[in-house]
Each structure stands twice: as structure tokens, then as C-alpha cells.
Amino acid sequence: MAARHKSVETKYMEDRDAVLRGLRGLDRRTFLKVLAASAGAVMARSLIPPHTFQLVEVADAAPDKAAEATGMAGQPPFTFAYISDTHLYPRTVNQRFVRGAVKAVEDVNALDPQPDFVLFGGDLAQLGRREELDLGRQILAELKAPVKMMVGEHDWFYDLGDTWQEMFGPPNYSFDWKGVHVVVLMSVHEKDFWTARKMTPAERMQTVAGLDNGIQSRFEVGDDERKWLSDDLAKVPHTTPILVFSHSPLYKYYRNWNFWTEDAEQVQAILKPYKHVTVIHGHTHQMLYNQIGNISFYGMLSTAWPWPYAPTGLPPLTVQMNRADPFDQFDGLGDGRVNVRPDGLADKIYSLWDRNPVTVKADYLVSHGKVARPPAPQFASY
């Protein structure tokens, strides 16, 4: 009678035998490479010892340089870093935001091992001027790891994206990375509020830059881009982990401050069939996270200035970060990393400046707060 359940020990021995048989087929050079890679992988990631024998996939040990360069090869786990919401003015106007952006770049460059790539989360410029975007590009060019750019409203509404697209390419795109499908959205489209008011580009940009004026429209992904998203995901199996990078949160947190995506439900519906979806978003300048159905949401920190939590609408799962100390120019700000786990879920590390880092685990979100609760604040917003 065949055993319906294999013990851990049995599985271990079977996997080990399979790997060692596979190793016999390698030439010497490849064998040494595999050994080195395996040792390096275990040390670098500080993995909890696996249940069963694991080595770098023997099938992939024959070097495939092209695939590794694009990240197509391999599986999670992997780590990427993020820098977001730098809100740069020209150097001659404001040094403080420049200092923040440079500090984040130095943080990421100091990581060892280096992350696979760095996500830039949007709002590179403050008022969408070419000079500001150029300054941002120069600062980010110092990053050692490759950069994936994402656009924010402060980058877009001066010239409706002309300069951004010239410098950084299409505002929405997708790519595959180590078995994960990554979608980068332009989620800060706004219905035209400026033509009827006869606004100049500068006035339009100034209006969008003001969080609380209530004149601008609410952010949306929009019909066209939702169609693009559906088409893009059509070829992706439902078991593939999905990462969505978005500037607006893709859920509805606080309408008055545009912590909001107007067509959030429709976007979430497109993502619903997928087993594991993680949204990494910018715009909110605070430690923020949420779980809606199958989707985990993590907000990124800003490097420019922190925002208080909105009076209503804060997701119950978010454990607030301490109020920012106005007497400390870096408090409440920072950068961070996302660890994508082997199962495709993601943990987020908030590297808060002048504070201890906070890690928010996918287990906490997926269990709706039952396990792995992040540390409580001492100075919550009120």
C-alpha cells in the first residue's frame, strides 16, 4: 500500500538523492559554481533551515547569463529596495529634500548583499519641472542596483507626463522577475479639472501639489489602463505571484487628501483571481498597510516629509508609526526593502531614519492580524 503521506525525513532523503544524482552529470567548473552559489545563497539570505534538502536548482546551474541579467531565471526569495516621494525642488531653492534623497541612495548602496533592483515609488519632482526631474535622475543614477521607475502626480501634471516619458519611458509597464510577475501602474490619472477653470500648467500643477484643496479630481487608474492591465495579466497563470507597483494606494483610505483610487474596486477585481498579490504604493508618506481579500498593500515611506494619519479611514491592520518629531529633519522618513518569499508573499522592512526599523510580515496581513503583530507606537496620531 503506497503511503499517502510522506514524512519529512522521507522527503528530505528523496530530494537529496535527486540533487546528488543531478550533480553527477555536471562538469567540474559548473559543479564548483553550484557549490559556491548554494553556500552564498544560504548565508546571504539567513534563511530558516528548509524542511527539505535544497540547493540551487540543478537544472539552472548551467549558466544562462542572459536570463540572469533580466531576472527571468530563478525563483523567489529575492529582495528589492525602494526609495519614494523625494519631492525635489531645484537645488538652488531647497536643500533639505535633496539631502533626503541622497541619504536614501546612500542607504541602498550600503546594503550587502545588494538588492535585485530598486523601485522608485513616484513623486521624484515636487512641481514637475524638467530641472527637478533631471536633478532626481542624477541622484538616482548613483544607485548601484538597477532602478525601476514609477511616476507620481507631482511628476506628471505640469506637462501631463511629456518630460517624464522622455526621460524614463512608458508610465505603465510590466516585467517578470524570478517567477514573479511585476506590474508597474500609472495610478494617478485625474479627470480634467483644469480646462474649465482656464488654469495654466503651473496652476494645474500647484493645485495637484496641494493635498487638501479639494479642487483636483480623485486619482484613478482609468478605463484604458485597466484594460491594459487585464490584457497584460491574461497570459499570467493564477498561481504566479503578482507584485503591483502603484503610486496611489489602489484602495480607499481618505478621500479629502487623495489617499484614494477612485476605481480601486475595479482594479482589485482584475487582481482577484490571483493567488498572491502584493501592492507596493507611494503617496501616503507614512507606515501603512492593509489586506483586502487576496491582496496585501504596503505603503512606502517618503524621503521628503512625513504625513500624519488621516482622521478617518485608516486600515485597522495598520499599527501606526510614532508621530514625527518636527525638530528632527529626518524623523518619520526613510526607505526600505521588500523580501519576496518563496511562496510569493512579501514582507516589508521600513527603514525609518532615526528610529529602529520595523518589519511587517505577510503572515500578519494574511492572518488579518492574528500573528506577528508589529510593535506598538508610543506617540500615536491624535
Partner: protein
């Protein structure tokens, strides 16, 4: 002709007796909206001063007073007594309080006009707020009308709006790095005006809200600190306080 405003506020002798003012007609017309009625005072035969009540009817000539002269206190008291007596003779069955509320359409001397006076307050024509039964009567404060409250609310809201404008503008704040208050404090959130005064260790003193505003103007906004009596600082304070209406005071909270 000089305009003169005769204010009669002898409360003991005649609570809220109403006295019209002898303006030069052209000045009066300039100050009133087109819709308001204009009272024609009977002219005196030998250039004396005529005083009229706000009802537009009851009037008397002040004996021995020439145009341009001031009344003494004793004369003023006598005039008010005489006018009141005249009014009561003409309205034998009316209680003057009820007549007062009926006069809701009577013109009120505009506050701007009264500012030329020598400090004496002009009693207003009251109306529209019928005092209800069982309530105390006759107070100055209790006699303000809906219109009064509306005017004051308007003034306050305008001041708060001025503060809101400054709050949202780095130029108005005098900032030099493109930072305005609303960037960190949308809708004046996280300002906690209700927690002042408190000891602010970074300032080494007990701080009031305006001290914190000034600190922010100097530091994140990189402007020049405003004088505590600067109208801009007061307007900012007004805006911030207005956003926290209803929040209990809690001084010293950190």
C-alpha cells in the same frame, strides 16, 4: 456741514431710548444703501439742533443749542426724557419694548458712521429677536439680533480664511525654500492647538501655539519669525484653532 453724532446712552434715565442723528443729508445718503429710508428732520427756524427718534416721527428742538455745539450731560438727559415722554404720549397703549421689536426694518446707524463720534456708544435699533416669556430682559448682550451675529460670524470666518490662505502659501509665510504649512499639516492636522501651553524642551520654555507656529516658520519653512502681534500670525492661529472646533482643551499634553 460737519456731521455730528449724538449718542444717548443714559441707561438709568431711559433704557434704550432711541435717538436719531442730525446728519448732513448728503453724508447720510452716502453712507446708507439705496434701499434704506431717509428720515427728514424738521428744520429749526433759528439754526438750532433738532433731535429725532429712530421712528422717523418723534422729534424736538434742543433749546439754546446751536449747530456745532455739544450738549452737556444734563441737557442730554433732559432731551431723552422729553423725547420719551413725547413718544409715550403719541403711543399711549404701546409698551416700548414691543414697539422695539416691531421696528425690525428701521435703519441702524452704520458702525462706520458712529466711529467719528467722541467715543459715546450709539444704541442700536433692535429688532427681529422677540424676547420670549420667562427670560430676562433688557441686557445689551441679549438684545443683539440675528443680523449682528451674522456680521460677526462673517468677520471671523474671513479672518480664518485669511489664515488659511497664508497657511497654504510659502510666499505669504515669507518662506524661502518652497515649503508651506499645509505640506506637513493638511487641513491643519497634527497641530494640536488644544495642547498648549506646554513645556517645549526644544525651545527651553513653556510654549503657546504661536510660539510653535513661529518656530515652524523659522525652521522647516525657513522664513523670518513673525512678531506675536503680527496680523499674519494671528490669522494663522485663528485658522488652526478653527479646525479644532469641539476638541476638548488639554493643555500640557505631549
Amino acid at each position: 456741514m460737519t456731521q455730528r453724532s449724538i449718542g444717548l446712552a443714559t441707561a438709568a434715565a431711559c433704557a434704550a431710548i432711541l435717538a436719531a442723528v442730525a446728519y448732513a443729508p448728503s453724508v447720510l445718503r452716502a453712507q446708507q444703501a439705496a434701499a434704506l429710508p431717509i428720515h427728514q428732520l424738521p428744520t429749526s427756524k433759528d439754526g438750532g439742533v433738532v433731535v429725532m427718534l429712530c421712528d422717523g416721527k418723534t422729534s424736538m428742538e434742543v433749546k439754546g443749542l446751536k449747530t456745532g455745539e455739544s450738549m452737556t450731560h444734563a441737557q442730554a438727559v433732559e432731551v431723552t426724557r422729553e423725547l420719551m415722554a413725547q413718544w409715550q404720549r403719541e403711543h399711549p397703549n404701546e409698551k416700548w419694548e414691543m414697539a422695539q421689536t416691531d421696528q425690525s426694518s428701521a435703519p441702524v446707524p452704520a458702525p462706520a458712521a458712529a466711529s467719528g463720534a467722541d467715543g459715546a456708544t450709539a444704541s442700536r435699533a433692535h429688532g427681529a429677536n422677540a424676547p420670549s416669556k420667562g427670560m430676562q430682559q433688557g441686557d445689551t448682550y441679549a438684545s443683539f439680533t440675528d443680523r449682528d451675529y451674522k456680521v460677526w460670524k462673517n468677520e471671523t470666518d474671513n479672518f480664518v480664511a485669511e489664515g488659511k490662505k497664508i497657511f497654504h502659501s510659502d510666499k505669504e509665510l515669507g518662506g524661502t525654500i518652497g515649503v508651506s504649512c499645509d505640506m506637513c499639516h493638511p487641513d491643519a492636522s497634527n497641530t494640536h492647538p488644544e495642547t498648549y501651553p506646554k513645556y517645549q524642551v526644544q525651545l527651553q520654555k513653556v510654549a503657546l501655539l504661536r510660539d510653535m507656529i513661529d518656530w515652524c516658520i523659522e525652521n522647516p519653512v525657513k522664513g523670518k519669525a513673525l512678531d506675536p502681534n503680527d496680523p499674519k500670525l494671528r490669522a494663522l492661529e485663528a485658522y488652526i484653532l478653527a479646525q479644532r472646533k469641539g476638541v476638548p482643551l488639554d493643555y500640557g499634553k505631549h
